[in-house]
């Protein structure tokens, strides 16, 4: 008998958490939306695309976004940085820029390797993500219940833009849905 792995995806709870994020970005008049894409961010990226006053800035690597948004703030604009957890490791040295100059930095991280992950190559960086961000003095907010997304985003954005502070909102795989191979 052949041993089969279960391939059903673990479905997320149906709630429009993307809209909750988008409305907080709107309230804070976020202008530059920088990203290295992730499947978990795809709906938010679509939502921001063409939204009045918002400019999407695709990056080649995540640390570009930290320098980009520092420049945006120097010029009087707020921004947000979207990435997958694997991108957090690319950012370590550049996070010094935000910390030492106290640039506001709001990072939204979709998690991999955290909860129900099918790909073991995602697990090391996924498990390191909150530790690395905390070590770099970022405030870390984890969202594992999509119903808490709006509140958490509002709390993080206020601390970032009124602080100023550097904060990351980690969007858990229980929110996004842990994909399985081929899905």
């Amino acid at each position: 008998m052949e041993l089969m792995e279960p391939t059903e995806p673990i479905e997320p709870i149906e709630i429009n958490w993307t809209e909750a994020i988008f409305s907080v970005l709107r309230e804070w008049r976020v202008r530059q939306v920088a990203y290295v894409p992730d499947a978990g961010h795809s709906e938010l990226i679509r939502r921001c695309d063409g939204a009045a006053g918002m400019r999407l800035v695709p990056l080649t690597t995540e640390e570009e976004g930290i320098a980009l948004l520092a420049g945006a703030w120097l010029g009087g604009q707020r921004g947000v940085l979207l990435m997958q957890s694997s991108g957090v490791g690319n950012c370590i040295n550049m996070l010094s820029l935000a910390r030492v100059c106290r640039f506001p930095l709001l990072t939204l991280v979709t998690m991999r390797g955290q909860w129900g992950e099918f790909n073991p190559w995602q697990v090391p960086m996924g498990q390191l993500t909150p530790k690395v961000l905390e070590a770099a003095d970022n405030l870390v907010f984890s969202v594992d219940d999509p119903g808490r997304m709006g509140q958490t985003m509002a709390a993080a954005a206020r601390m970032v833009f009124e602080g100023p502070a550097q904060a990351a909102v980690l969007i858990g795989q229980s929110v996004i849905g842990a994909k399985s191979f081929g899905k």
């Binding site: 202008r31 530059q32 400019r55 800035v57 695709p58 990056l59 080649t60 690597t61 640390e63 570009e64 930290i66 320098a67 980009l68 948004l69 520092a70 420049g71 945006a72 703030w73 120097l74 010029g75 009087g76 604009q77 921004g79 040295n93 550049m94 010094s96 820029l97 030492v100 100059c101 106290r102 640039f103």
Partner: protein, 215 residues
């Protein structure tokens, strides 16, 4: 007796990089940067980590300079964020070859956004000047302007003589962007001289106050 392996080993370490040519380049970094910043008007300037920070500060410690004491690889894309936020102001990034090479992806990110008001000048001495003058990739055949053009810049050019530099100066100030110049400068260590403030919050706050008014 000479050790026959020495030259061969050095060649192997340096590959095809040229160890000597940059010592004879006619343009000098301090004079180039002084000319770039003369009569700067309301231009906004980002200075990349290393000698460009000292060069810019040797001209004047200006509140609309943002000198980077770290963040290697971030100068060009920081200029992008600033240029998009301030589309009516000229933004000039002055950085070095080593700093630019660490963030080459920035060229593609800028090429995708195509801000009209962004100019990037690389002062290229083909060396990591702050760490002992080790060769960078530009000491070989690497062509930064070609990379910028391929990434979607509106214009990009190399400069290696005083005549070329003088001819390019008006365009560096006003040509449609994103525009890129790679200026070959002599490989030499200049005295550091005047330093800008090191405190990042001070640099940020004074820049925003000068540009945007009181917080």
């Amino acid at each position: 007796m000479a050790d026959p392996t020495n030259d061969a080993m050095t060649d192997a370490m340096n590959g095809t990089l040229d160890r000597t040519r940059a010592a004879d380049y006619p343009l000098r970094r301090r004079e180039v940067v002084a000319a770039l910043l003369a009569d700067r008007g309301d231009m906004l300037v980002v200075a990349g980590l290393g000698a460009p920070v000292w060069d810019c500060t040797a001209v004047a410690d200006h509140p609309l300079n943002f000198p980077l004491w770290g963040a290697m690889g971030g100068a060009a894309v920081m200029g992008l964020g600033l240029a998009m936020a301030q589309p009516d102001r000229r933004v000039l990034v002055i950085t070095g070859d080593g700093e630019m090479l660490m963030g080459l992806g920035a060229l593609s990110t800028i090429g995708a956004q195509r801000p009209d008001n962004l100019a990037i000048v690389v002062c290229d001495n083909e060396r990591y000047g702050e760490t002992g003058m080790q060769l960078t990739h530009t000491a070989g055949s690497l062509d930064l302007p070609a990379m910028a053009l391929a990434a979607g810049f509106e214009s990009a050019a190399g400069i290696s003589s005083d005549n070329e530099f003088k001819a390019a100066l008006p365009a560096i100030r006003s040509a449609h962007g994103p525009a890129f110049w790679c200026i070959k400068i002599r490989a030499e260590n200049s005295p550091i001289g005047a330093m800008p403030p090191k405190d990042g919050v001070t640099l940020k706050d004074r820049f925003r106050a000068a540009l945007l008014g009181a917080a």
